[in-house]
Symmetry: C2
């Protein structure tokens, strides 16, 4: 049995996955703050899985997906600011606590692996992009069932590609970045109205005919469509799976994105030939993709069962 955890800024999603890659148990809990709080949360999540019937002695590995930079092949986490972690070898800390091999991966990359695994065996010989629409925007690319990072780790870093020279300023310093158009934080900042779900507030206001909200909505759809086109036309991904907080918008997001993609297909026979509208999918709300992907990352630390799980 492998445990995978998606450690988010507010909550942690944990699953226990069997050798065939099936999710056997799942628990959710609030995420603690800082190195101590995060390690405690991970230990608590494992306890909760055991409470849910997982045999503690049968846990062969633990994989953790979390925001921030993770050096490839290491368990060292940098700049996980919204978890209060500046620099921590999470693997060492968790292995000491739990006594099982631990793997750590950036949460978007872990979710990409999970999204690919959830699509099942059939499409594993291909390329999938997982486009995470959260406070920020990034994509993870999985080729033939394995994460594709690129030598510099920038494969899929579409968030800061500028697609409108006259577009809004991005926190990165450029103008018209995809993240400035379609990132949750950027939209909330530009909308400027306090709301529990700012992007939902924007879409509701747009539906009521608010012109500025309609513009923000159009830029959201344009930004996501641009990310899809760039992923397909540069990395030739077969499918783009959209996840992250904004994927909770469901049809309201998909309708707009597909309409944008179909508008370019209308205009261009070349774009039409790519059938982009059919190649975009929404990760189902509540999907365990990130935690499942983390379990697969953890499993790679578990040498003797590596094959089973990676291709499971």
């Amino acid at each position: 049995m492998r445990v995978g955890l998606d450690v988010g800024g507010t909550k942690t999603d944990a699953v226990a996955v069997d050798a065939a890659g099936r999710v056997w148990a799942r628990v959710r809990l609030a995420t603690g703050w800082g190195p101590i709080g995060v390690v405690q949360t991970i230990a608590d999540a494992v306890d909760a899985l055991v409470g849910a019937g997982v045999d503690r002695d049968a846990i062969g590995s633990v994989g953790v997906g979390m925001p921030g930079q993770v050096q490839p092949g290491s368990t060292h986490v940098l700049h996980a600011v919204n978890l209060g972690i500046a620099d921590l070898d999470l693997g060492v800390a968790v292995e000491r606590r739990l006594g099982v091999p631990v793997g750590v991966e950036n949460d978007v990359k872990a979710a990409a692996l999970g999204a690919d695994a959830l699509r099942g065996g059939t499409d594993r010989a291909g390329t999938l992009a997982y486009l995470n629409l959260g406070t920020g925007i990034a994509a993870g690319i999985v080729r033939d069932g394995a994460l594709w990072r690129g030598r510099h780790g920038t494969a899929g870093e579409v968030g800061h590609i500028a697609v409108d020279p006259h577009g809004p300023a991005c926190t990165c310093g450029q103008q018209g970045c995809i993240e400035a158009l379609a990132g949750g934080a950027a939209i909330a900042r530009r909308w400027g109205r306090a709301a529990p779900l700012p992007v939902v507030d924007v879409l509701d206001a747009a539906d009521r005919g608010d012109a500025r909200a309609a513009m923000l909505r159009a830029e959201l759809m344009m930004g996501v469509a641009a990310a899809v086109r760039i992923l397909v036309l540069t990395a030739d991904v077969d499918v783009v799976v959209i996840g992250g907080g904004l994927s909770g918008l469901g049809d309201r997001l998909m309708r707009g994105v597909v309409a944008e993609l179909e508008a370019s297909a209308e205009a261009s026979a070349f774009m039409r030939s790519l059938r982009l509208g059919e190649r975009v999918q929404l990760l189902p709300v509540g999907s365990p993709a990130a935690a499942l992907g983390a379990a697969l990352v953890g499993a790679t630390r578990d040498r003797d069962t590596r094959e089973t799980v990676i291709h499971g």
Copy 2:
């Protein structure tokens, strides 16, 4: 000895490459029109190489790079419009004529292989993009010494990615495509003034202070810089080698492109960390990249020597 040919709209560049991948002889001749003219040109080029001292009996394979679509793994060429070829199995036609195995590849993809080979052994374990700036714009990507096409063959097809929603109309039907900003044909059409080298005419006029020419020049640099950013941030290429007709602009092109890349690095610490300005290179004028790459493609048909040449 392997022969490689870059069959262009006006001239054909042919090289003979030894087993170590060294260019042993090189000839250039005018390209004939239509299926018969092109096959004749290839036969004439081989004769010319023999005339230049290549032992005809030592020619193990012939590789052809040409514009148009080539079905991966096949020698079937489609839509090579400026050669007068709509649909031709060039391999069958040339093998019948020359009696050696023939490989065929799209010219941009062949040039990418050649540009990678010309960079020598050291960097072969990495990813190179060859960005062809000609009448149109496309890139070929080579990963670990092998062409990376992607399952749909769209890897590196950055020409029709829109990077300015308010940009000029593209012949593809979209607006603000990289090709509409930086493609030679688009610039010539928008400039509208008859000149042997329209883009040079634009740059000269811009240097003389012509405002419209300065705008076209700025859009050229912006479009090329956008292609470089997209290739690095999506496919994580280590280096972007710029070739094609517009690469003849040399420093006038490079200065402008690097300035654009450095402006975004100025603005953004993230972009700065990518050191894009240092990762762009110009293919030397008169480089045999495309013909050399074609020779490598031909060599892959020559089973027993495949390894030698691909890694040579």
